[in-house]
Subunit: 432 residues, 2 copies
């Protein structure tokens, strides 16, 4: 076992064969659109609900863009009943855009059968051995799949991308953390209707209205941000040896510890988990030298989110205030907002040439210096939906700095995030 992320190679052939679960929903269709002419990946199977199983994909397609030629004749499988077809279908990987309730078991079963699962569902994001990866922010967390592989022994694993709002928010926080350190952040979201999937809310509930509630969303933003900004349990240098030998010995004795015994995890907060962890039988913990083999969330950063659904078709907008550890000051000891804009603008790859991953944009963050930008209607397609737009950087008289952020919830915050993770796994030879 070698250090995966130091083996990056962008020359990939032949193509990887992929299945898409939940291919008829909003995220599923976006996945297919992103993969239709992908240089490294070919979609060969699409799963849908029982109602649509057996139909040709183009006959259930409902999108403002036409159904891609290369997938239009694929006959849909039942994502639940035809699970074995995915397992025995000679697939290299599966993308999951399933509803979270379905995703819990289906994704676990597919991973246990040896498949690499790249999931947009929230079901397994809280599992201690499942990483939430944003290649722009925490590519190294992909290494966590080694833990999963070790336990599953099948070679399969689950990699998740974050909640849609989190994708934009954590990108901004990571840029600030690298440059100035982040103490705490308050964000208010104004989220697009497309984030609620199809058909989404009833017209009279959302037209000319603001709905200050999206189930589970505030907790997702707060917890996922801390996990993404957290650290791997052991250093990269130690990981292979520990995985191969020490953990194996532990496993054979049946010894397990929970996160509360972790030396590096002494506060009162339990390790990230959700109801689905136990349901799915995932979340196994291996203690080595008092360390848990899962991401250690960054509980030093305090996050408070208030979420709202607004009558916008695409693009989530957020008003964010952040307290920095070392805020940049100008000669008058006022906040140096230019330094913060530069930190956003200069936020770049932690992996060389990462924009050779097909969906990764050359610029992670587009900075606006006008009074009234960014706006979701006009800026959510920058970088083909993979670039975060940030503007209105100004001093906050309660914390340190405030700004407005727009993230494409359907691409960076969903389908694009999942595809980026698969690309990273392919280029880093985690997916062979």
């Amino acid at each position: 076992m070698t250090l995966t992320l130091s083996n990056i190679d962008y020359n990939i052939s032949p193509k990887f064969r992929a299945g898409v679960l939940g291919g008829t929903g909003t995220v599923g269709q976006n996945l297919v659109l992103l993969l239709a002419n992908h240089p490294w990946i070919t979609v060969v199977a699409i799963g849908a609900s029982e109602r649509n199983a057996g139909k040709r994909y183009q006959d259930v397609w409902r999108n403002c863009r036409p159904c891609p030629e290369v997938v239009k004749d694929i006959v849909l499988w039942d994502a639940l009943q035809d699970k074995k077809k995915f397992i025995t279908g000679d697939l290299d990987l599966v993308f999951s855009a399933l509803d979270s309730e379905l995703a819990v078991q289906v994704e676990s079963d597919l991973a246990a059968s040896g498949l690499a699962v790249f999931s947009n569902a929230s079901s397994h994001r809280g599992d201690i051995d499942v990483p939430i990866v944003l290649p722009l922010v925490n590519p190294g967390h992909l290494e966590l799949v080694k833990i999963q592989r070790f336990y599953a022994k099948s070679g399969g694993y689950i990699v998740t991308n974050s909640n849609c709002s989190t994708a934009g928010f954590v990108t901004a926080l990571k840029a600030l953390q690298d440059a100035f350190g982040v103490d705490s952040a308050i964000c208010t979201t104004m989220q697009a209707v497309s984030g609620a999937g199809n058909p989404g809310p009833h017209w009279n509930q959302i037209d000319s209205n603001v709905v200050p509630y999206i189930p589970g969303e505030e907790e997702k933003i707060e917890n996922e941000t801390k996990k993404i900004l957290g650290k791997l349990p052991v250093s990269a240098e130690q990981a292979p040896a520990l995985d191969a030998h020490t953990c194996a010995a532990e496993k054979n004795t049946g010894k397990e510890t929970d996160g509360s015994t972790s030396v590096e995890h002494q506060d009162e907060r339990p390790p990230l988990s959700d109801a689905s962890s136990s349901t799915s039988g995932r979340g196994t913990v291996c203690a080595v030298y008092g360390k848990i083999h899962g991401i250690i969330p960054n509980d030093q950063i305090r996050i408070s989110a208030s979420v709202n659904r607004v009558p916008v078709v695409d693009g989530h907008t957020m008003s964010v205030s952040v307290k920095l550890t070392k805020p940049p000051l100008d000669e008058n000891m006022k906040l140096n907002t230019s330094a913060i804009e530069e930190a956003f603008e200069n936020f770049t790859f932690s992996i060389p040439d990462m924009d050779k991953l097909p969906v990764i944009p050359s610029k992670f963050i587009q900075v606006f210096r006008s009074l009234d930008e960014p706006q979701p209607k006009f800026h959510s397609q920058i970088g083909n939906g993979m670039t975060v737009s940030i503007g209105k950087v100004r001093a906050c008289s309660v914390l340190d700095v405030k700004f407005t952020l727009v993230v494409n919830n359907a691409i960076l915050g969903a389908a694009g995030g999942a595809v980026a993770n698969a690309e990273l796994a392919i280029a880093s030879r985690i997916l062979l």
Copy 2:
């Protein structure tokens, strides 16, 4: 001169004769609707732009509700050219819904001519001797008109109501301040299009979009909130004597000081003022025993606002986080959110029987305990638009408490606020 607000009497007759400036705009029409069948006030004159002067009011009426019978035949005056008609028109008071640029001079001239001006314009809100009054929050600030009367010698004065967002925000903060003390607050607004007047933004700019900018709005929310939560410069007991004697002596010697010499105003922030103060010749300061004769803003409270325009017809929504001086805790030392809900619910009149003022509702704040309320579409008409809706009270992991607030921007935040101020002035015998 007596203490005005101790002389409250709700038996009013005969009716007061009012003019409405800017009567054809959104706020102006709402003023006329509120005054059409008012028990204490009769609209006898309406001012409009030069374009509409000379027309009958019903011929320029554009509102989803019909033009009230009692005003439909009023022939419009030119708010600028016919200023003398308002001055000599036997009016007891004038409501101003003028654009701020026009309001600066017109309102000053009318006040200097002896008229009581109740203005929704922002032009004079920063003037040191002009109060921003919300009868629900700071009725006592109405006493500041005594300072204006003293200097003008005409008996005229200007009373403003707050910015639309501020009206809801400061009501919530006042309830919290009274119960627990407020250290600081961060608010993100999602403001309705009606707040931009008629015709407001272009459709393509706001449909399915969020615009994170409203000129001057963030500064208004921050500064007006501090002024409304500020205090009168001298105690009510001292005020009459100081006004009549000490200030007069000072005035005769031509001595003036600015706020920076004030003993009670030692921080770096200059006293509230805006460009219009000097333009209008208002904002005169009289120093008595080192005190300024204007509201002393509450600069102890730190406020940070982020404003957004959203595609909503009516009703401003705000996500608010507040740090309390003494947060209520339960037996587990967690935030006692029920105590905060009760503080909102119990927030009541500082003046006995104040709901005998015709537009004042019996309940200032309606508390919601459901997951997804309040919402602007369904809750901005509570209390005929004069009640603030608050819900989703929960702990904030960065400050102390967060909640969602809906305020009717057109009524409590504009026309209703101005009418309430006039009613308070009438009932307290400030307007005779």
